[in-house]
C-alpha cells in the first residue's frame, strides 16, 4: 500500500515513550495494545499503571488489526499546513482487545458506516527512520 494518505508529522512515540511498544509493533507489522499482565485489563491509550489493579508497566499484546467502525468524521477544513483535505478519520473498536478504540485514517471510498467491519493495513514509513501507520478500510 502506497503512502498516498496525509501524514501530520505526529507519527512515532510520545515524549514519555509509554507508547513505544505500539510504534515498534507497527514496524514489526503488528498491532500491539497495552494489556495488564496481572489482571488482563486492556488499556488504551498507554498508561504507566493499570487503572484496575495498580500494576506498574502493564504489558502489551498483539491483536488482529480488525475491528468495527465506532464513529468517524471527514475533515474539510485544513487544520494542518500540508495535509490535503478532505480526509476521513475512523475510530475503530477492537472487540479482541476488550473493546478498546483506536484512531486511524480511513481509505474506503464510500462513507464509513458505524458498526461495519474494517481491516487495518500497515502503511510503510516514507523514510528509513520514519514510522508506519495503520490505515483502515472495509473488511
Amino acid at each position: 500500500m502506497s503512502a498516498t494518505y496525509p501524514r501530520f508529522g505526529a507519527e512515532g512515540p510520545s515524549p514519555t515513550l509509554l507508547d513505544a511498544p505500539y510504534w515498534d509493533g507497527l514496524r514489526a507489522g503488528e498491532l500491539r495494545i497495552q494489556r495488564c499482565g496481572q489482571c488482563a485489563r486492556w488499556i488504551w491509550t498507554a498508561e504507566p499503571l493499570c487503572p484496575d489493579c495498580h500494576t506498574f508497566d502493564p504489558g502489551w499484546e498483539a491483536v488482529e488489526p480488525t475491528g468495527v467502525v465506532y464513529t468517524w468524521t471527514r475533515t474539510h477544513r485544513q487544520f494542518h499546513p500540508h495535509a490535503a483535505v478532505p480526509y476521513t478519520t475512523v475510530l475503530v473498536e477492537l472487540p479482541q482487545a476488550g473493546g478498546r478504540r483506536v484512531l486511524g485514517l480511513y481509505t474506503g471510498v464510500d462513507d464509513p458506516v458505524i458498526g461495519a467491519a474494517v481491516r487495518g493495513q500497515f502503511e510503510p514509513a516514507a523514510e528509513a527512520d520514519g514510522w508506519p501507520l495503520l490505515r483502515w478500510s472495509p473488511a
Binding site: A10, P13, D19, T73, R77, R101, L103, G104, L105, I114
Partner: protein, 389 residues
C-alpha cells in the same frame, strides 16, 4: 443530603469587557481580565481590592497570583485552576470558588477567564491536548473530536440533525436583542445554516463556537456578606464537577461515548443535592463548543429526551424567549454572543437571576449552567433567586 453550598454562597457581581474579533483586542490578556474584575466589583458594590480569591480553568495563563498583585488586593487567600482540556473546567472553577467561601478560607472570590489570541496564539485552550494518537490520524482540533462524538449521536443514537440546527438558530435569535453579542445585527436562518460549509462532518461552520478576545468575571461571596452588597444575589443551589469512572483523559475511549460526560450518577446527585428536578429549571445556558455536545448535555440532564424524540423538544420555538418551554442560551451562547472559553454563558446564567439579561425569562427563579461538554471533566451548576433558596 443537601449540598452544604446551598444558601451559603451567592454570586453578587458580574462584569465583562466587550468581545473583540480574535487577535484584535486593544489590551493584553491580563488587562482584559483586570477590566472584567473591576467591572464585576463595581457591579457588586465592593472595592476590587477586597477580592481575596481567584479561580479559573483550562490553561488560563492569567494566574490568580499575577492578577491579584496588579489589582493590589489586600490579601490573597485562595487561588485555584481547574484542570482539564476544553471547557470542562468552567463549572469546577465556580464550585471551587464556592467551596473556598463555604469553608471560610476566603470571603470574596472571583471566577474569571480572559483571552487575547494575538498574545496567546490560536486556540490557546486546546494546546497540549492533542497528543500523538490524535494528531497522527489528523485529529488536531476540538471540532474534530466533537464531530466524532456528534456523528455517533446522530448515526447510532438517531438524534435528528435538526436538534443541532435548532440550538444554533436559537442562539442567533437571542443575539439579535443583545447589543453586546458579536452576532448582534447578523441573524441566521435555516437556509444559511444549511448552506454553511462543512468543517468536520457532521459539523458545519454555524455549529461551531466563535473565538473572541475579551474577558468576563463573576464575584462570589458568603451569605452574610451577600446581604450587604448592592446587587441581587444569585445563590448557588447545587452543582457537580469532575467525572465518573469510564470518563476522563481517554483518547476517545470514554463511555458512554455520546454523553457529554454528565453521566447518570452525576446528574442524579445534581438533582438530589439541590432538591430540584429538571421541571424546576426556568432557563438554561449550555456551553456549546459545538452544537452536538451541547445537545448531548441537555439530553444528559434530562431536559431533552434521547434518540429521535430529541427533535420534538429541540425546536427553535421551544428554545427561545419569551414563549419557549426550554429557553436556552438567552444571550446567544458561545455561537452568537461570543466565546472567551465559555465565560459568556456563566455571565448569562447569573444575569437571568440577578437581572440585566438581554432576554429575561419572565419570573426566572432557577438558572442552570451546563459546562464544557465532552471534555475530560465536566460540570453543572444551579443558580437561584432569594425566593428559591
Amino acid at each position: 443530603m443537601t449540598l452544604a453550598l446551598r444558601g451559603s454562597v451567592a454570586v453578587v457581581g458580574a462584569g465583562q469587557t466587550p468581545y473583540y474579533k480574535r487577535g484584535e483586542s486593544p489590551r493584553s490578556t491580563k488587562a482584559l481580565v483586570l477590566e472584567a474584575l473591576i467591572e464585576a466589583a463595581r457591579d457588586a458594590g465592593i472595592d476590587p481590592r477586597e477580592i481575596d480569591g481567584f479561580a479559573s480553568w483550562g490553561d488560563d495563563p492569567s494566574e490568580g497570583t499575577h492578577v491579584a498583585t496588579t489589582l493590589g488586593v489586600h490579601e490573597l487567600r485562595w487561588s485555584s485552576l481547574a484542570w482539564g482540556g476544553g471547557g470542562g473546567g468552567q463549572v469546577p472553577a465556580i464550585l471551587q470558588a464556592a467551596a473556598a467561601i463555604a469553608t471560610g478560607q476566603a470571603s470574596c472570590v472571583a471566577v474569571y477567564r480572559g483571552m487575547n489570541q494575538a498574545e496567546e496564539g490560536r486556540m490557546p485552550y486546546a494546546k497540549g491536548h492533542f497528543p500523538h494518537h490524535y494528531a497522527a490520524h489528523g485529529i488536531l482540533t476540538p471540532v474534530q473530536v466533537c464531530a466524532m462524538r456528534t456523528q455517533r449521536m446522530l448515526e447510532h443514537d438517531k438524534v435528528p440533525a435538526s436538534a443541532l440546527e435548532a440550538l444554533a438558530l436559537a442562539g442567533y435569535h437571542h443575539a439579535q436583542t443583545n447589543p453586546r453579542a458579536v452576532a448582534y445585527g447578523r441573524p441566521l436562518d435555516a437556509e444559511a445554516y444549511r448552506a454553511s460549509r462543512l468543517i468536520a462532518e457532521p459539523l458545519r461552520l454555524y455549529d461551531c463556537s466563535r473565538e473572541n478576545d475579551g474577558a468576563g468575571a463573576i464575584i462570589l461571596t458568603s451569605a452574610e456578606r451577600a446581604r450587604h452588597t448592592r446587587g441581587k444575589p444569585a445563590w448557588i443551589l447545587g452543582g457537580v464537577q469532575g467525572f465518573v469512572r469510564g470518563w476522563g483523559e481517554l483518547t476517545e475511549n470514554q463511555d458512554p461515548y455520546t454523553s457529554a460526560g454528565l453521566v447518570p450518577s452525576m446528574v442524579e446527585r445534581l438533582w438530589r443535592e439541590s432538591g430540584l428536578t429538571p421541571a424546576d429549571v426556568d432557563v438554561t445556558q449550555v456551553y456549546e463548543n459545538f452544537t452536538g455536545p451541547a445537545v448531548a448535555s441537555l439530553i444528559d440532564v434530562g431536559l431533552v429526551p434521547p434518540g429521535p424524540a430529541a427533535g420534538d423538544v429541540m425546536t427553535v420555538q421551544n428554545l427561545t424567549v419569551p414563549g419557549g418551554r426550554l429557553p436556552v442560551n438567552t444571550a446567544g451562547g458561545n455561537l452568537a454572543d461570543g466565546f472567551v472559553h465559555g465565560i459568556g454563558v456563566v455571565l448569562e446564567a447569573v444575569r437571568q437571576i440577578r437581572g440585566d439579561s438581554p432576554n429575561p425569562v419572565p419570573g426566572a427563579q432557577v438558572s442552570l449552567l451546563l459546562g464544557g461538554p465532552a471534555a475530560p471533566q465536566v460540570g453543572a451548576v444551579l443558580f437561584g433567586s432569594d425566593a428559591v433558596v
